[in-house]
């Protein structure tokens, strides 16, 4: 690839763990607007510095900040936002095709998320640069098509499940201000717990669906805040791959190393 070629968005091979960390971090942010901005910045930082894990930790720290300065910090960080340049020729497509599988798969996920976010921002009348919107859309469709052509459905399905979990977070409308008594689990926590169960082997899903739901109800009836419920469900989602591996080992009668 020549130096003059547009940069290829890079997500390093530790993508799955980092994406899970980002899911966890985003779930802690109560303000949907800040959450949305964070996701866009996360993608941008990831493509620029390959440090999504660090970004996830930063979000966690900001979300836990009781002083309420997170919004101001995010505004500052918004200045960092850059989106890779538009692909102009087949050389770019070739470069994408040569990416390691994890890089390519997680790039698809990242682009899909940004794509979804942009759609929502446009719907809310936000002022966005049209060129950037078109670029993200083009990148997303180009990557998606290439990935479909290149990889088996298994890995893609795995990553798209994570992506769908993130969509659910993005589409969540924070209703924590409604009322003070919490008796039923929050909708977002419920969806995250369901997403966690869906990652498990089919034969184990009903058991864990019910088990997770029962624990969420316990949390809710114990007056846990919706944020605490979301944190709980996010951790379920984050540890779902490990649980899945254990359950598969159980079926094989072997051990997980």
């Amino acid at each position: 690839m020549k130096a003059s070629d547009p940069p290829v968005p890079v997500i390093d091979s530790e993508g799955p763990a980092q994406i899970r960390e980002l899911v966890l971090a985003l779930a802690f942010i109560p303000d949907p607007d800040i959450r949305a901005q964070a996701l866009e910045q996360g993608f941008a930082l990831h493509t620029d510095s390959k440090d999504l894990a660090g970004f996830g930790r930063l979000l966690l720290a900001l979300a836990a900040d009781p002083s309420g300065t997170a919004a101001g910090i995010f505004d500052t960080m918004l200045g960092i936002l850059t989106i890779p340049e538009r692909p102009r020729n087949s050389r770019f497509r070739d470069a994408i095709f040569d990416l390691p599988s994890d890089v390519a798969l997680h790039t698809v996920v990242g682009l899909a998320i940004v794509h979804a976010r942009l759609g929502r921002l446009i719907g809310r009348g936000c002022s966005l640069d049209l060129g950037q919107i078109l670029l993200v859309m083009r990148l997303f469709f180009a990557f998606r098509d290439l990935i479909r052509a290149r990889f088996s459905g298994k890995e893609l399905e795995r990553d798209m499940l994570i992506a769908r979990g993130m969509f659910q977070i993005l589409n969540y409308q924070d209703d924590s201000a409604r009322g003070t008594g919490v008796r039923r689990p929050g909708a977002l926590a419920g969806r995250l717990a369901s997403a966690a169960a869906r990652l498990l082997p089919a034969e184990d899903r009903p058991r864990y669906q019910e088990e997770f739901r029962a624990e969420l109800v316990d949390l809710a009836q114990g007056q846990s805040s919706r944020q605490a419920q979301v944190a709980y469900a996010s951790r379920l989602l984050a540890s779902a791959w490990q649980l899945r591996a254990e359950l598969r080992a159980l079926r094989r009668g072997g051990a997980v190393q």
Binding site: E210, E211, A214, V217, Q221, A231, Y232, S234, R235
Partner: protein
């Protein structure tokens, strides 16, 4: 195999904390959230550990005998150490404590009681 940890058991600190919490009352049945809280682990992280211990035969689990419509919530899944599992857990923890103490990583002792 009463000596040493069985193949496939990673005696992580989280696993040790979960086992210690359950060994505080070995015959008591607890559901996942209770074990998390008794072990002072972050909620939502216990299920892979429980699945591993269940796979090894150290734990057994069952649904609570309750009607969800009457209780107003889904059924809980209760876990309990098997007799053999409790014994193995004590041995494994003793060995793990020896190793972790040498590294200065000994887990804090757990309180004897969990949730109601």
């Amino acid at each position: 195999m009463m000596n040493g940890k069985p193949p496939g058991l990673r005696m992580t600190l989280a696993t040790q904390l979960a086992l210690r919490a359950m060994l505080a009352e070995p015959t008591r049945e607890m559901y996942g959230l209770q074990i998390c809280q008794a072990a002072e682990l972050p909620s939502g992280t216990i299920h892979p550990i429980l699945a591993r211990l269940e796979r090894l035969g150290w734990l057994e689990s069952h649904w609570e005998d309750a009607v969800p419509q009457e209780e107003g919530r889904p059924r809980r899944r209760y876990y309990r150490l098997t007799e053999d599992g409790a014994e193995r857990a004590r041995i494994a923890l003793a060995q793990a404590t020896t190793s972790t103490a040498a590294l200065g990583l000994r887990p804090r002792p757990r309180p004897a009681s969990g949730l109601a």
